[in-house]
């Protein structure tokens, strides 16, 4: 069943005093003081270390592996190759049954006979220290036969392309269409048709803390303990159980403090699987920390895509149709277990999402390449769809001759069309507030003054641009998406709330925190329900041995799903305590409330504090008049039943200046008005938006994994892969419209990706706006000085 767009639910009242309070994040103190405990801070007795020998070729056949010299080195315990690990560990098979035609080769933890990207692991050298393992790895000799490779998307899709993996004779991994088969009618009758090609460079997440794992197979208990820098410990438990043929119950996965994840720590990697399998093989704890060079070649990459899009509009600027083709670069293997198709699918399906688009058709193809596998990275496909859409809107506005902001306003979608269950592309959306967001944004940026200033400066040869990006974002993505794909993934979020005898609360949550502060916000929410200080709530997270079953962190779900689970647990806990108190105070439970941690009755403060209630229930249950002790531990799990995800929305704008002679971009100002429903902690929400925007600016201006023609990653260091720095960032002005989701009582929607989704589109449209007097356009992201200069020179040559 779907929510009817016309059905009005009552507005959420303020859930508690804590919701909306800009509380400082006490738990961040530990991290900024350097007292966090990350995987690499953990040491186990008898622990060994791995250094991997990785494939140097984009595509190669392993002729022989010589490990004798390496094994002679002091401290070296073993040198294990793919064939040996295959005896105890199955390769990843990543072909979700619900994705028709999806094809990916099996990916073993260490390459066997054939390797398909530069950086694929081949030999695990195991030693008493990482240094000893690395020294010995230098002595492992692998004899290779270099095989023909297909690296770029264009190369992968050409008829004469080399096969990326020998088990296939072409490189097409996915082919799908959203919307109608034929939209030509919409284009035939249009007043204007605009068309553009797009290209998006490959990126990677660049987390501050690289990936890392400690695996400890205990042969005595036949139990596996894993500490991993990761977003989804429960998923990893299932993955390791499946690959090693173990009972999930014999595995515990712990994610300690995690220093940034951005989606790349959502995946199961061959490297980490190899570490786990080596521990099982040797019966000793194994640590493997990915170094920065390895991060670049083996972390999930993302975003590589090219696309063409046509848009038909009428003479007033109303969109009549969209017709798009997106080609996405998957890399050598589909990322386990969720595949690499998510980015491609969302890049196609989300085109035009904020607008009433008339006829819609988007074809998407995913291509295997001899490059690192691509996977989820903050925003997953949505930044691509948004950039395409917004650039097309600007082109159409120019063709029609109306202001780009007005073009957006007249086309915004606010609800699903009457009588429909989804948009033409299949999106299930709630009420959108794009109109209100745009109005607030234009006021904040003083749009008219900016435009006047822009026109005046152009007279002097100064090219400033104003860019907009409206977005709809799928947040809190739940089982409604993963279930039908046939992916065994828990997508609910859970909270197990315990009242301790001293009146403090413990919240064990399935939600995980990689630096966002989600746990602080959850603690704040819970504290607010009982009107106690947040430090009275102890948060437990990231440990399958101690938390309830559930997802973790991805698709902006912490507060939208985990917050609602926590709220529901609080309500049940409170109701139970009110039952007890009502008996003591001889009143109706409905007459009771919490104030400053104490139950307030009809006659005011009752003396029944949380501590008193804890002591009563735990130590003196006989004093409870009803004789009924309510449960002291409540578990709640939440997943929106009627929606596959919760849509948030917003509008970005950027003001920038392009130096047409240097090709440089100076960001002058940035605004965003976001609607993520109920805001629990505005400080955290605003920083999520700012951080996301900075990452989106990185995508637009700097970041690209540059591969050579023969598939060598040529800029895989932080000296050459350029990430945004504070000095280049503009002031980012954040504001909100609040439309609580009807899917939950809390009303919070996701916000973690909203910045990254919109920023590349805003910067793209702003640069093209700036260059419009020169009749120059940029199409390939990132918009480096070179690409901007090439665009300017190409336009000059046309004159």
């Amino acid at each position: 069943m779907l929510l009817k767009p016309c059905a009005r639910w009552p507005m959420n009242k303020l859930v508690s005093k804590a919701v909306g309070a800009p509380m400082p994040r006490e738990s961040a103190r530990l991290l900024v003081e350097g007292r966090g405990s990350y995987v690499d801070d953990i040491a186990l007795p008898g622990m060994l270390h791995i250094a991997f020998v990785r494939a140097p070729f984009a595509h190669g056949r392993i002729l022989c592996i010589e490990t004798a010299d390496a094994l002679q080195m002091p401290g070296v315990v073993a040198a294990i190759d793919g064939k040996e690990l295959a005896e105890i560990c199955a390769p990843f098979d990543t072909n979700p049954p619900g994705v028709p035609g999806h094809a990916s080769a099996p990916q073993p933890p260490l390459a066997i006979e054939e390797s398909c990207f530069q950086g694929e692991t081949v030999v695990a050298v195991v030693a008493e220290s990482r240094a000893a393992a690395e020294d010995a790895a230098e002595l492992v000799f692998v004899d290779w036969e270099e095989l023909p490779a297909a690296c770029s998307i264009a190369e992968a899709q050409s008829d004469s392309a080399a096969a990326v993996h020998s088990s296939f004779d072409n490189n097409l991994s996915l082919h799908h269409r959203f919307g109608a088969e034929d939209v030509s009618d919409a284009f035939e009758n249009a007043a204007h048709v605009v068309e553009e090609s797009f290209a998006f460079g490959r990126q990677t997440g660049v987390t501050l803390e690289p990936r890392g794992i400690i695996a400890h197979w205990d042969p005595r208990a036949e139990e596996l303990e894993v500490w991993q820098s990761h977003q989804v410990p429960w998923q990893m438990r299932e993955v390791y159980a499946a690959q090693l043929g173990l009972s999930p119950q014999s595995i515990r996965v712990v994610a300690p403090d995690v220093g940034g994840a951005f989606g790349l720590k959502l995946h199961a990697y061959a490297d980490e699987l190899a570490a786990v399998a080596v521990s099982k093989r040797l019966g000793r704890p194994i640590k493997y920390i990915v170094d920065r060079l390895e991060s670049f070649t083996s972390d999930a990459h993302a975003r590589e895509a090219k696309a063409t899009c046509r848009m038909a509009v009428d003479s007033e600027g109303h969109i009549l149709g969209i017709d798009a083709v997106v080609d996405s670069g998957f890399g050598a293997y589909a990322m386990h277990p969720r595949g690499s198709f998510g980015e491609a699918m969302q890049a196609a399906q989300m085109i035009g999402a904020p607008y009433k688009v008339g006829a819609f058709r988007a074809e998407v193809r995913g291509w295997r390449q001899n490059k690192a596998p691509s996977g989820a990275y903050r925003g997953v496909g949505q930044p691509i769809a948004c950039a395409i859409t917004e650039d097309m809107i600007d082109l159409a506005a120019r063709a029609v001759g109306i202001d780009p902001a007005e073009m957006r306003r007249i086309n915004y979608r606010s609800t699903l069309d009457e009588g429909t269950r989804a948009t033409q592309s299949g999106l299930v959306i709630e009420e959108l507030s794009l109109d209100a967001c745009l109005a607030k944004l234009m006021e904040a940026m003083d749009y008219k003054t900016l435009r006047a200033g822009q026109a005046a400066l152009r007279e002097n040869g100064i090219y400033r641009g104003i860019g907009f990006a409206s977005f709809v974002e799928l947040t809190g993505v739940g089982a409604g998406l993963y279930g039908p794909l046939g992916l065994p993934l828990a997508a609910n979020e859970s909270c197990r709330l315990t009242l301790q005898p001293d009146g403090s609360l413990t919240c064990a949550t399935s939600v995980t925190d990689q630096g966002q502060g989600t746990l602080s916000a959850l603690g704040q929410l819970i504290a607010g329900e009982f009107d106690i200080a947040p430090n009275m709530v102890r948060m437990i997270s990231g440990d399958t041995g101690r938390t309830p079953y559930g997802g973790g962190a991805w698709a902006s779900r912490g507060m939208a799903l985990g917050g609602e689970a926590a709220r529901r647990a609080c309500v049940r806990m409170r109701d139970g305590l009110f039952e007890v108190a009502a008996g003591v105070l001889q009143c109706e439970p409905s007459a009771l409330a919490f104030d400053n941690g104490e139950i307030i009755g009809l006659k005011g403060p009752s003396g029944l504090t949380l501590a008193e209630m804890g002591a009563l229930c735990h130590y003196r249950p006989y004093d409870i008049p009803t004789g009924q002790v309510p449960p002291m531990t409540i578990e709640e799990s939440f997943l929106p039943l009627n929606l596959p995800y919760i849509t948030s929305n917003g509008v970005h704008a950027v003001h920038l200046e392009v130096d047409s002679e240097l090709g440089t971009v100076e960001l002058l100002d940035y605004w965003v008005v976001d609607d993520c429903g109920t805001v629990v902690n505005p400080l955290l929400v605003d920083e999520q938006l700012r951080g996301g925007i900075v990452q989106g600016i990185g995508a637009a201006l700097y970041e690209e994994c540059v591969y050579s023609e023969d598939g060598q990653f040529t800029n895989g260091t932080l000296a050459d892969y350029v990430v945004p720095m504070a000095g280049e960032m503009p002031a980012i002005h954040v504001d909100h419209i609040t439309t609580p989701t009807r899917a939950s009582g809390l009303g919070a929607k996701g916000v973690g990706e909203a910045g990254t989704v919109g920023a590349p589109g805003a910067v793209r449209t702003a640069i093209n706006d700036a260059l419009s007097p020169l009749a120059a356009r940029v199409a390939k992201q990132p918009f480096t000085t070179r690409r901007i200069l090439e665009a300017v020179m190409a336009a000059e040559n046309l004159e």
């Binding site: 020998v53 140097p56 040529t714």
Partner: protein, 150 residues
């Protein structure tokens, strides 16, 4: 990556040509060469230890000699496998011409590098490859002219 340079060597052209294709000379001139064996007809095998930026590598290389015009020119095709560090492969075309001071040696080197060392980026790799090539031909000039190079 492509590099081109020349050296004036104070030795007769034929003597220079003869000398460049001996394993002893190759070992003396290749920086970091631990072992060089073989002959122009069968090709050479070499073990070279080098450090590129932070990456230390032991390359096992095979070099074949083609397009030999005695006394005038030849082309070396080499491939080195560096284990965990990656690989290097390339060609060097060497042309000799008479010169008032002896013989002018012109070399054009094309090199490809892959794996971990390629990742360090062209700013390190290009400089490293240039240094390797320059060192080779400077050492060679020194050997031919009987000058000890430090």
């Amino acid at each position: 990556m492509e590099m081109q340079d020349s050296q004036i060597i104070a030795a007769p052209r034929d003597a220079v040509f003869e000398a460049i294709l001996t394993p002893e000379m190759l070992k003396a001139c290749i920086s970091g060469a631990q072992d060089v064996t073989g002959s122009p007809d069968e090709g050479f095998e070499a073990v070279v230890v080098q450090k590129v930026g932070p990456v230390k590598a032991k390359f096992r290389g095979a070099v074949t000699v083609v397009d030999v015009v005695p006394g005038r020119s030849l082309r070396l095709i080499g491939e080195g496998k560096g284990g965990a560090a990656g690989f290097a492969k390339g060609t060097a075309t060497i042309t000799l011409a008479d010169h008032p001071d002896g013989c002018e040696l012109v070399y054009v080197v094309e090199a490809k590098i892959g794996g971990k060392i390629a990742q360090l980026g062209s700013r390190i790799i290009d400089g490293f490859a240039k240094k390797m090539a320059n060192q080779f031909f400077e050492s060679f000039k020194g050997e031919m002219e009987g000058v000890e190079l430090s």
